[in-house]
């Protein structure tokens, strides 16, 4: 491999290595009770990274899953977790609970 290609890869790696912490991320809460999400619809600011704190009040695990949000996260029973999403363009982003997909459904609305 030529030195030029190696330098190109090296610079790409340095760029990928850059980390910036999320500061002052707005936080929103969602609860899981009886295999339902509360609130089922949550409005959040668009074009802003946000933190979702999800409380699972049930004794069984649930999985927050959304292809539209590119997120998938298991929340064990009687515990909580944090999911970072966005910045989102204005629109609606459905999600569901993979353990109870018929009842556990919701959407994030970015405005």
């Amino acid at each position: 491999m030529s030195i030029r290609i190696r330098k190109f890869i090296f610079l790409k790696l340095l760029w990928l290595a850059y980390i910036s912490p999320v500061s002052a991320t707005p936080e929103f809460k969602i609860e899981i009770k009886n295999h339902l999400f509360y609130p089922a619809e949550l409005t959040v600011p668009s074009n802003t990274k946000i933190k979702l704190r999800i409380f699972n009040r049930d004794s069984t695990p649930e999985e927050f899953e959304s292809y539209e949000l590119n997120r998938e996260k298991v929340i064990m029973g009687n515990s909580q977790t944090v999911i970072f999403i966005g910045p989102l363009k204005p629109g609606e982003y459905p999600y569901f609970g993979e353990f109870h997909p018929k009842t556990a459904q919701g959407k994030i609305i970015a405005k």
């Binding site: 090296f10 790409k12 790696l13 290595a17 980390i19 910036s20 912490p21 590119n70 996260k73 970072f84």
Partner: protein
């Protein structure tokens, strides 16, 4: 505090692996790796309660590799909120004489370091150890897994530092990189472009992947790609396929 710890862990592992890997990649002019490093691109995420059965297949179109096909069967399970382990049986098949052999066993573990989306990139580490069946050769490696999201486009990099040891081989360090740019078109179909680089491999090619769901946490993830060799040491074309059944 958790966020700060994750941040510091990510930075520390990043610096160590990147410095070693980059120095080796930039300064080493002699080929030190033995095999073709086209395989798959790992992602830095782990799900609790995850179990999977995995099959991978590679086919090389010419005789630059000693065997023309390689395949592996793995069974994996997460054993903590941010750790996942998988055991593999690795086989090879020579297309000329049709000889198939089980060539190695491998254990791997993925450690998710940061929450997805928490920082500008997501970080994880992959640890692998492999034992050849017919020779006294051990291979161990650590891979830094980095993923970054730009809307529907996802960029992933795997940076590997490995070592080979045993009575049948001279100990040596190996480095490799695998990179993937993927467009999240739909759950069923995502196109991607993958690049594989090591001292014995330079390959680039398109990959298609998708996911089919079968209800209650059962799903099949599949990948199929054609990686073109861009150096004399790399096969002209490598077909790669993968199927992961999560249950």
């Amino acid at each position: 505090m958790q966020k700060t710890n994750n941040y510091l862990r990510a930075i520390a592992s990043n610096i160590i692996v990147l410095v070693i890997f980059s120095a080796n990649l930039l300064l080493t002019s002699n080929a030190i790796a033995d095999g073709i490093t086209i395989d798959k691109v790992y992602h830095p995420y782990v799900q609790p309660l995850e179990r999977e059965l995995e099959f991978r297949w590679l086919n090389y179109d010419d005789d630059k590799s000693s065997n023309n096909q390689a395949y592996r069967l793995g069974l994996g399970k997460s054993f903590a909120t941010n750790w996942f382990a998988e055991a593999y049986i690795i086989g090879e098949k020579n297309n000329i004489n049709n000889d198939s052999t089980i060539s190695a066993y491998e254990l791997e573990a993925i450690w998710q370091l940061t929450e997805q989306g928490e920082y500008s990139a997501d970080w994880g580490l992959l640890f692998e150890i492999e034992r050849q069946t017919d020779q006294s050769i051990w291979e161990g490696s650590t891979t830094l897994l980095i993923e970054r999201e730009w809307g529907r486009t996802i960029g992933t990099a795997n940076l590997t530092l490995g070592v080979e040891a045993g009575s049948d081989i001279d100990s040596e360090l190996e480095t490799a990189a695998a990179m993937q740019v993927r467009y999240r078109y739909s759950r069923a179909l995502e196109p991607a472009l993958e690049l594989y680089v090591s001292s014995s491999t330079l390959g680039l090619g398109p990959v298609l992947m998708g996911e089919n769901r079968f209800g209650n946490r059962k799903k099949l993830h599949w990948e199929f790609g054609i990686i073109a060799g861009l150096s004399d040491k790399t096969p002209n074309a490598t077909l790669r396929a993968l199927a992961e059944y999560e249950f």
